[in-house]
């Protein structure tokens, strides 16, 4: 057993005892009831289960939760799909996903959303040239599998959010 201390979507959870073989995905979905994070392939191949991990230095990355133990997140701060909307208002990315009809079944959406959010924050810190943008978006999203309709529309939605605020994201 491990005593897990974790911050989720800005709220520090009361330290909880967890079994060492409990996956982070089961911890989120079964213990906390946070089912926005999905369980897909169970092998870190589809990334529908990815969440955002925030480093103390202000940088962030996504991590799959299906093959990672909950205990391995001890001391970390993460964000899940439930944390994007603020005061009942969806984030710019969430709105763009909807207006582009980017998803159909929605299973991959939380993963794409987290990945794209990390990309946005990275670009805000380190803007890129417009000419490189398409490749950068494609590379950022490429680990995520969508089996319905989404690749092109996710790509377009992320691009639109970036192009809507070029001073922030583009060099």
């Amino acid at each position: 057993m491990t005593t897990l201390a974790i911050t989720i979507n800005g709220r520090a959870l009361r330290p909880t005892e967890v079994r060492d073989d409990l996956t982070m995905n089961d911890f989120l979905r079964e213990h906390l009831g946070m089912t926005g994070t999905k369980f897909g392939c169970g092998a870190a191949q589809c990334l529908s289960c990815a969440v955002i991990v925030d480093n103390p230095d202000g940088t962030s990355y996504t991590s799959p939760t299906c093959i990672a133990s909950a205990a391995s997140f001890d001391g970390k701060a993460i964000r899940t799909v439930e944390g994007h909307a603020k005061n009942g208002e969806l984030s710019a990315l969430q709105k763009a996903f909807i207006s582009h009809f980017a998803f159909q079944c929605g299973y991959c959406t939380a993963g794409f959303l987290n990945e794209a959010q990390v990309l946005l924050e990275r670009l805000a810190k380190k803007p890129v040239a417009r000419a490189e943008l398409e490749k950068i978006i494609a590379a950022a999203l490429d680990g995520h599998i969508c089996r319905c309709t989404g690749y092109i529309k996710y790509h377009e939605a992320v691009r639109d959010v970036i192009l809507a605020d070029p001073k922030r994201y583009l060099a």
Binding site: Q104, E134, I145, C146, Y151, K153
Partner: protein, 279 residues
């Protein structure tokens, strides 16, 4: 009448039927011969159109319906088994007959109220055995680039065209088309499950081995989908599922033939096979 609810069924629009009331807005008396023609009214670009009359805009219709306690909402239920359920509903002085089996209406700002139904008919259970074809047609053009040294294939540009009758939600038809294209790419170039001991029955297969198309396998900026208008103005929505997937496969294999002179007879055509063909 404002409930722009479509029957799940292609023919006509329920909205127009229930709302003989718009006649009043057109100032057509119920005794006028035109009154019998109201089923000919059609929605087009947010306006209710009837030949020879001024089109009625939805906002104006909505305002009038709310102000005068006309029908402002409708909820229907139907059931399909290669034919739709049917029933009659008493609506004011008229009997309304439709391919639905339940109907609730709301007037003005009121609550929805269920209408009594009579003559309910459901399609026979024998229909479960019927197969039905709707024939949504589709074609594809692709341009591929194959790197001679490695056999790596890139789809540089692609075009798919389809006709699926009236698209109820064009954005979703477009998404299904893009997704169907991606599945076609997987079918042609990536996806395989071998039989026998090493196949998926061994319990070890996952998306690490069973490769499906990712964004980088697609021409993300250069995939054009053209949705043709319905063949006729009253053509029903036919469904299109993953029809766009199908011609992607022969299109890619024909493009490979044009590029390399090799005809491949089995799928998927992998990078290793292509490397052999370009050597």
């Amino acid at each position: 009448m404002l409930a722009r609810i479509r029957q799940p069924r292609p023919r006509g629009s329920f909205s127009v039927s229930v709302c003989g009331r718009q006649l009043e807005l057109w100032r057509i008396a119920s005794t006028d011969p035109l009154a019998k023609d109201w089923e000919k009214a059609r929605w087009k670009d947010g306006q209710l159109i009837m030949p020879g009359l001024t089109p009625l805009g939805l906002p104006a219709l909505a305002a009038a319906a709310h102000a005068r306690n006309f029908v402002t909402g409708a909820i229907t239920h139907s059931f399909s088994r290669w034919a739709w359920s049917r029933a009659r509903f008493q609506f004011g002085a008229e009997q309304y007959r439709a391919e639905i089996d339940a109907l609730a209406l709301r007037k003005g700002g009121g609550k929805f109220q269920r209408l009594d139904r009579v003559s309910v008919k459901f399609p026979p259970t024998d229909n479960n055995r019927i197969g039905t074809t709707y024939t949504s047609m589709c074609g594809t053009l692709v341009r591929v680039e194959i790197e001679r040294a490695t056999g790596a294939l890139r789809i540089a540009k692609a075009y798919s065209v389809l006709e699926c009758g009236q698209a109820l939600v064009p954005e979703i038809v477009l998404g299904q088309s893009q997704g169907g294209f991606a599945m076609g790419v997987g079918y042609a170039l990536l996806e395989t499950l071998p039989p026998y001991e090493g196949g998926p029955g061994n319990g070890q297969w996952n998306l690490g081995q069973y490769l499906v198309a990712r964004g980088s396998d697609l021409p993300l900026r250069d995939l054009e989908i053209e949705m043709l208008p319905p063949l006729t103005s009253d053509e029903p929505p036919k469904g299109m599922a993953e029809v766009v997937m199908i011609p992607v496969v022969p299109a890619i294999l024909n493009a490979i033939f044009d590029a390399t002179g090799r005809r491949f007879q089995s799928l998927p055509v992998t990078q290793t096979m292509l490397k052999g063909a370009t050597a």
